[in-house]
Amino acid sequence: MSVDSNLKLSCYHCGEDCKDTSIQLQDKTFCCDGCKLVFEILNENELCAFYDINKNPGISQKIKVRPDKFAFLDDTSIQQKLIQFSDETQTHVTFYLPQMHCSSCLWLLENIYKINKGVVSSKVNFENKEVFIIFNNNTTSLRKVVETLTQIGYEPHISLHALDTSTVKKSDNKRIYKVGIAGFCFANVMMMSFPEYFVADGVVEANIRATLSYIIVAFSIPVLLYCADEFFILAWKGIKHKFLNIDAPIALAIAITFGRSIYEIFSHTGPGYLDSMCGIVFFMLLGRILQDRTYQSISFDRDYKSFFPIAVNVIKEDKIIPTALYQLKKGDLIQIYNNELVPADGILSKGKAQIDYSFVSGESIPVSKDIGEIIYAGGKQMAGLIELLVVKDVSQSYLTNLWNKDAFQQKEDSNASFIHVISKYFTVIVLGIATIAAAYWLYKGQYTLMWNTITTVLIVACPCALLLSATFTNGNILRILSKNKFYLRHPDVIENITKINQLVFDKTGTLTQQNKTKVSYNGQALSANEQKNIASLLSQSTHPLSKAILEELQINKISEVQNFKVHVGKGIEGWIEDKHYKIGAYDFVYASSELSNTGSAVHIMIDNIWIGQYKIIHNYRYGFNRLMEVLKAQYSIAVVSGDNDAEKNKLKEILGNDADLLFYQKPDDKLNYIQHLQNIQHKNVMMIGDGLNDAGALKTSNVGVAVSENSNNFSPACDAILDASQFSNLDKFIAYAKSGKKIILISFVLSIFYNVVGLFFAVQGTLSPLIAAILMPCSSITIILTTYGMSEWAAWKIGLETKYDKSHV
């Protein structure tokens, strides 16, 4: 039936298993003609080193791209939106190529000029998965460049979204500059403070001492005005919104430290605390950089625009004009090709439509539509070319409307992170101590000592230790989670995860694997010939169930089918080798089988005798049972699915009777369900979903996790992206995020020890700059080491990968 497992051949180009050795060239075997074609192109252009750098580096070419798909790139108005720079001879353009995955890709893309002679140069940014191409517009065109890329397997992702936000992702270089400058100033100020600390009075001449102090002041001014500006800005923003965030006391401490130091230096009463100030600013910025590091190649803010094609073919007076989507108007007649997304609601006017709405509604089986029926935007055409009459603008279609609903626009409320709460109490307590100490010295009549005390207490009172604990812990947690392919959008998500008590899962594509169904056969044993004949009949059909069974049968050679008939929504029939084969739904085949009719079953009948049935079972993700076993003990679990309830019993068995199982849920229903949980039951909900149909629920939930088969793929807007291969580790990720809060608290308590020592000197008015200069770096480094050590330890204990794994880059 299938190829002997010992003789599995993998494609020379992409490494996928080859069904047989029918496609060969130069003693190399390929899985499909597409892969062979790419090899031929590379071979012709002497680019076969592509295969030497990595083994089977190619991208599977099984899905073909239709030839004039990129005709719209000849349109100048679209071109202008994509092109960065253009003059008479040269054009500069950057493409996003999500397929890029190894150094072979890098090499091939930078040698693309050998294939397309019009390309002047190409440069890859691997981490952004982008290629920057300069081409000569006299010898080639934008369309041709894109076609060349597509030909060798790197189809650029060009979306409406990219057109809208033509601004390049703003890099956070500013922070890096700030850290660089703060570090530089800190190191130099520290060095120049040494004579003050370690050399007895009188040894260093007064004028050298003065010169050093002035240089120190000069160095600390950029630190205060440039590097530390974000603390002041954030503090001011917080105060404007009547919210005392952690930045407010920090900004106050920085300002007071600077003011007092300047006073001391210019009144020649002391050396000031500028070294400590520069140091703490440096460490705090460093922590924030680590925490806010972004994943360049992952986008969390995709909306429907990223999923839609950029242009469609409009038929006007018998001519086909590629038109940009934003120019599409009501009443236009558009062409939708096989495997393409319908961009606007329309009425089917020509062709046979099999629309897969799984993305929009979660239904796993395509619906067939007849001429005159309405097809909603977001559906994917599965059966050949169709024509649609657009009835609504792109911006008003059902899907887009859903997106524009209030819930989607919802702004996240100012997060009252526990860090801000602690910092508030911390500040209040310290201010209390300062007041008491000041009152004591006032009572004693020691005015200078009083001022001394107030300022030094405030310097020590800076909750920077707390900020450092939080940022370094979060930074390391994000790093470790991302190594395990769980990518968080923002450090605040870690804290949100710790609060959740309800998990809501989508079914299709989240719990089950997309495009991977398990086929099992029940009934009489089939002979090899019968299998071949069944495969022959199935190969005539485009229905996904037929395809699923065909894939299972793995038969390539087919026999001739006569009198082939399709009964839409029911099944197929035909004559093969003088036998009548009927394949399809239960009532179509008219079988008197006692087998239950649950799930998706395809019945086989040969010459009016029921032979058996193929049962199509959705394949649950690896580790699903174990994961649910762990999760249901700790959280309430619900499943909301747009699909039918065929799997209800199975899910009930695994999830238990307490779990809410909802089927036939529209995107709206999912959103409302989440809101119901939040508002009525006061739950903190984590929604785990995948498609556009979950987008609303993902956004409303406290933590929205999108499961993605490939992290470069397109997932809806969410708080976190979970690589599908790591789905079974979800419980570990949640546990790890929870350990984060403990780590922050432990390291903060540790740092309080340093604060207490500092306060001990400060209340007596004897906090010398030397003590400050020792305490500050000690506490900073203690925090960095504790948070790092503890978060690594927690990851190791939970069983997460902490080492850098090069292979998955």
Binding site: E46, I53, W107, V124, I181, I208
Partner: protein, 52 residues
């Protein structure tokens, strides 16, 4: 005494040079993509060996 001042100025100039170099690198995008340059350097060999 003046020698200390001269040394100081000298050290600040050297340190300033490094700071400038760092800022330049950041601006130039050296830290934007850590993967490509590391692998690109290995490809020169391939290009020469395959061209016969």
């Amino acid at each position: 005494m003046s020698v200390i001042i001269i040394m100081l100025i000298g050290s600040l100039l050297v340190a300033g040079g490094f700071l400038f170099a760092f800022l330049w690198c950041v601006k130039d995008g050296q830290y934007d993509d850590a993967y490509s340059p590391a692998h690109r350097i290995l490809f020169d060999d391939i290009n020469t060996t395959t061209k016969k």
